[in-house]
Amino acid sequence: MIAKERHNLAYGVAGLLILAFFVWTFNLLFSIQNNWAESNDVTAMDKDVHALFDQWRNLNRPGNDVLENYEVAVQKKALTRYLQEYRQARSLLEFHDKARVDLSEYYRDMDAAALEVETLARRVLDLAEERESLRLAGADAVMISAAETEAATTMARMDQAFQSGLDTIASIDQLLDQRLLDLDGARRAGVGSLYLIIIVALFSSALSLILLRRTSTQGEALRSSSRHLNAIVDNVIDGIVTVDERGNIESLNRTAEKMFGCSSDSVIGRNFRSLLQPESRPLYDPADFEFESGPSSRISEFTGMRSDNSEFSMELEGTRISVEGRPIIIHILRDVSERKRSAKRLQLAATVFENTSEGIMITDRQGSILSTNPAFTAITGFAADEVLGQNPRILQSGLQTRDFYEEMWRSITGTGHWQGEIINRRKNGEAYTQWLNINAVKDGGGQVTHYVGVTFDISELKASERMKDEFIATVSHELRTPLTSIHGSLSLLDSGTAAASPEKSAELIRIARGNSQRLVRLIDDILSIAKIESEKMKFQLRSVNLSELVPGAVEANQEYAKQYGVHIRMEAGEDDARVLADKDRLMQVLTNLLSNAVKHSPADGTIGVSYRRNDGYWRVSVTDNGPGIPESFRGEVFKKFAQADGSDRRKQGGTGLGLSISKAIIDRLGGHIGFDSEPGVRTCFYFDLPVMQQHWSVEAGAERFVTSAGLSAPAE
């Protein structure tokens, strides 16, 4: 930068010098020309002065000549002529205006002298004429002598004046000669300078020619290398845009033109911001780019806008450099939208790979595991690095036959595909059933490059299927058992076998009826659970007073309890205990809890029933002193078809659905159902329902349907 300034200074000084040189040369030539003109003028004037000298000399003659007896009249005429000639010569001097000599004073002296000489000459001539006339008239000598004396005196004065005029002319001549000498000296000096100038000019010209030749060679080289550079800049894959320090575009290469879909002419001079998408314009500041001092220039991402207003992502690199002392910023632009799109696609694929619940395993053609996802680890227990490079055989459980694997590989090599259930083994040794889908991945030429196995753990599904199968078997058994009894007792009655014994007949009738009731109960429960599962159970919500409902339920089940030798004791509670509920469903829940308690109570047992208010809810409890719930079964209590012992079902007469139905109902009423159990001591099943609020005042007959989302307060 400093070198540049020095350079500029040199140029300035040189320019000034050249200007001064020109002025000086011009001045010199001008002065030489002036000198020349003045010299000529002064030389001419000198000649005129010499002519004047001659004229002046004549002027003295008439006065002197008359003494030699020249005729006065002739002399008078001569004087007049001489005077005329003198005046002419004298006025000629004043025409030499180029001569820069001030002679006005001398002219005045000359004119005064001329006037005096003329006046005195005329007096002398007059006196000569007077003396002549005196002499002719015979005047006395005294008189003649007096005239002669006066004439002599006047002549002397005239000579004196004449002499002063001569002196003045000599002075003028001298002045002019001096001036000529001065001019001559000046001319000599000027011409000397002129020689110098010519020498300098010749030298400069030679130097310039040499320099010019060199510059033009360099210029040619520069132009050639510039063309070369332009070709490169135009053909690089990146867009290149240069801007000034305010961000105004100075140039752009062809790639940049294509990138923005515009021509150089249309954008040069515009601000670089205009090439950006409007929202990202404020983010661009040319001041952000440093001078090229650091090792890395700044790279940032912008959204560019093409001339058709479409947008694209670009990476922008800015480097500030100084060209001829002026900062410019070179922007290198890269259209990264495709890269971003594919990165996004890859990111999406990776996200799916990482987050899907299906285990994914990718192997090479030889079957070595290349990659697995987190779901694979979650299912198999093997971390990715534990199976990398291994064969999927490590997952085999040994529970599949060799034929199974042979069949699988036949399918994969034949159709490129296999899917089905397979039992594998987890890292912890546990065997599990999974659904596996294997596909061969082929390259463009149809060659298998990889195998992809997608799997999901269906052991839970299998377990629930097993549970369902078990349930169907159970239900079928439960339905068959009472039917067997009904059918059997009716057959015996029908055959008359029991006719002889009225007690036996009565017994058979009782069996048939009891089992019919059991069938009805079972069918009711199965329907209930089916409704709950399909979420079609409708609730009619009304204000229900627990002080009426709970004792009512106890009363209704007292008879049933008596069959088991069990007593139900109702504990007193508050009169006003309102909840928002479907009365029939709530009754169903209570009946379930009571019949469970009855079935699990020892003979002569007592069941305690209460309802109490706790904070914002009412808790209804049913407590028995039966064997309680084994620790291992506590998590299963509310699951469908669950009973502590599957084979316990018939003895207890239940379907295994009661508690799951009860839980579903209470959940939908916005409540909570639970239990406490001390095995061998007591078991308490309870449910909590929110205390009915004033603003829930439900008009008689108003119905609210509760969906699976739970209870919503009625609109006011």
Binding site: R480, P482, S485, H487, S489, L492, T497, D645, S647, D648
Partner: protein, 138 residues
């Protein structure tokens, strides 16, 4: 034992009281057998030695101790170690049948049964057993 090929004493174990009653009535009144009907394995073990059953008729699905387990317990008693065992059950899938065979069960009567036909069916099984037993012995 006596040389008499007729079946007399049947030890019957069934947890469902109603079915127990119907089967007992059927076997006693229609088939004229002597039936010791028990509600559980424990009850059966109490009476088996005194009763001396010629045939064991067992339900399969019972709480606590099921049919197969009851059979194993009864086989430990000399009074019941040789009596043919017949399961009376609704569980008659292929897998179940294979399991019964492994347990040494002689035959299976499928529920639901007709109480008027049941005694005859038991009689047939007995006859088959006797002839087979003699064939086997001979």
């Amino acid at each position: 034992m006596t040389g008499d090929d007729t079946l007399h004493r049947i030890l019957y174990v069934e947890d469902d009281a109603d079915i127990r009653k119907i089967v007992s009535m059927s076997l006693e009144m229609v088939g004229s057998y002597t039936v010791a009907s028990c509600g559980s394995c424990a009850e059966a073990l109490q009476v088996v030695d005194d009763f001396g059953p010629e045939l064991l008729l067992l339900d399969v699905m019972m709480p606590d101790v099921d049919g197969p387990a009851t059979l194993r317990e009864l086989r430990k008693r000399t009074s019941a170690e040789n009596a043919p065992a017949v399961f009376i059950t609704a569980k008659v899938q292929a897998g179940d049948m294979a399991q019964y065979r492994r347990l040494g069960v002689y035959d299976v009567i499928v529920k639901p049964f007709d109480p008027m036909v049941l005694p005859e069916r038991v009689g047939q099984i007995w006859q088959q057993y006797r002839s087979g037993a003699y064939d086997h012995a001979g």
